[in-house]
């Protein structure tokens, strides 16, 4: 069975439609969405309505949470003053236009979803805002996967797709404050972290949408890159009164506001 996993749509309705057409063409039978339905892009309500109408199981992303709870960003959300200013502007724009039923829908989204030994989360299972960077310490990365008892952890949030295989992981646990200072070691079978990239706000140098198809039969992970009419989204960004620089960055395959690059940072939200 083919499972499509998509993330970080960010109000880009054109990109979402292109991805939905593509995954249908690829024969995907199930779809999971890792959140960030809104924020930066010009069609937040339309994107949420489409996801709801298709009844796609969806986790809550950091932008979805912010639009419900209000901005409460850790420093990792904004690596620069400029990114912070642009992020706040986009938040205010989205917050002013989001329909109340859409906000209610975003509020009830879960932090994680499970399907057998597959886990789906936006940033990490611990936090929508945490970045699981490909260079992240292997022990910490393995801990994130084991904590949810998963074989494969699908995440998004960085907007840059990758597959990380954690092989032959060995963990040693030493219990202090016990009479014999017991030490217990155990090995884990192969685990994987799959970042599915971004549908609506890519950061890989091209404007194309990315998502992942996981084939349970062959245990195959395929990264899909889908062209779409991004100029339509760029025009809508400007028409809707969002900053034209957002349109330029989308056309360049740059995120609207840059994200953190520090793989050792632990999110404090």
């Amino acid at each position: 069975m083919k499972i499509a996993v998509l993330s970080c749509i960010h109000g880009n309705f054109e990109a979402l439609n292109a991805v939905l057409r593509d995954l249908d063409h690829q024969g995907a039978e199930e779809i999971y969405c890792l959140g960030d339905l809104v924020g930066y892009g010009p069609h937040p309500n339309a994107v949420v309505e489409m996801i709801r109408s298709l009844d796609i199981p969806t986790c809550q992303g950091c932008w979805d949470e912010d639009i419900v709870e209000g901005l409460n960003a850790c420093e990792c959300s904004y690596p620069s003053l400029l990114a912070e200013a642009r992020g706040k502007l986009a938040h205010e724009w989205t917050n002013a236009r989001i329909h109340e039923e859409v906000r209610d829908y975003l509020a009830q989204l879960p932090l994680t979803l499970k399907r057998d030994d597959l886990c789906f989360a936006h940033g990490s299972p611990q936090n929508q805002h945490e970045y699981l960077m490909p260079e992240m310490n292997a022990f910490a990365a393995l801990e994130r996967v084991l904590a949810v008892d998963a074989r494969i952890l699908f995440c998004g949030h960085t907007h840059v797709p990758y597959v990380r295989t954690l092989e032959a992981g060995t963990m040693t646990v030493r219990l202090h404050h016990t009479p014999d200072q017991r030490e217990q070691a155990f090995t884990t079978p192969l685990r994987r972290i799959v970042n599915v990239g971004s549908v609506g706000e890519p950061r890989h140098g091209r404007p194309n949408a990315t998502y992942v198809i996981y084939d349970t039969d062959g245990d195959q992970i395929t990264l899909r890159e889908v062209e779409y009419d991004y100029e339509k989204t760029c025009a809508a960004i400007i028409d809707q009164g969002l900053p034209p620089i957002f349109a330029w960055r989308l056309a360049q395959g740059l995120e609207f506001a840059e994200r953190a690059d520090d793989p050792s940072h632990v999110c404090e939200r």
């Binding site: 690596p79 620069s80 003053l81 400029l82 990114a83 200013a85 642009r86 900053p243 034209p244 620089i245 330029w248 960055r249 360049q252 840059e258």
Partner: protein
Amino acid sequence: MPKTLPHPPQPGLYLVAGPPGGGKTHWIREQLLTHPQGSAYGSPSQSGFCLDLAYLESQTPIQTIDAAQLVEVAYWAQQRPVYLELGFHVDLAALPSFPEVVPCSRIAILPPGVALSEWHSWADDLVVGMGPMVPQLPNQVQKSSLTGEVFDPASLDVVWHELTHGAYGRVQRAKGLFNLADGSTFWFSFNAGQPSHFEELPRPRCLTGRPAGLSGIEVMGWDVDAGAIAASLTASCLSDELLHHHQAQLRDAQEPVATLSESIL
């Protein structure tokens, strides 16, 4: 027939012209460094502040000539080499004539491979500069003073990338003098088709209050959205509170830590 420039430069008037990004200021800098005492520099085609002057002043001591002093330029040129940098937009045919008694050299700094231009017929000397020849000269020159402003480096990096990759219009040439949060001052220079050049200027680091030295940005191009550039630059500057906090941390890091024995004594 071009004449040979005296080396080291002799007293006289040196009019330096050429297209944007061709290396006029760079060439003048080389001359000033070979004759560090007593040379003078002016950029009469610049209105308001002059970033090139601020850059040259950071490199070597020079006598500057402002617009009001131009009437005395002949007198100055009898005493020392005087370099007048002429912007690409200056009408060379409309330049005033200078007294015969003042030796005057007209020097055109041109990108490699240029065989014909208005500067060819004007110049006494042709110097091969840098960069590609611009098929069409920019129709916009945007200048903004940023004196006193201090930038978050990560933000400035983004704005400069956007500026030099067409986010705010087609840019042929951009230069900037920016104060950074660590107290340093940097010179940014960009010519279309070439990578940007970044250079820390030998100015004292400012760790208290706002830096007083000139800083600013100059952009030459077509359909340049000055308002959008200003908005991005404004969002990249440190507030008073943030600057104060940052500078306090930098000063603390500079103070020598007393050893245990010193503390006891």
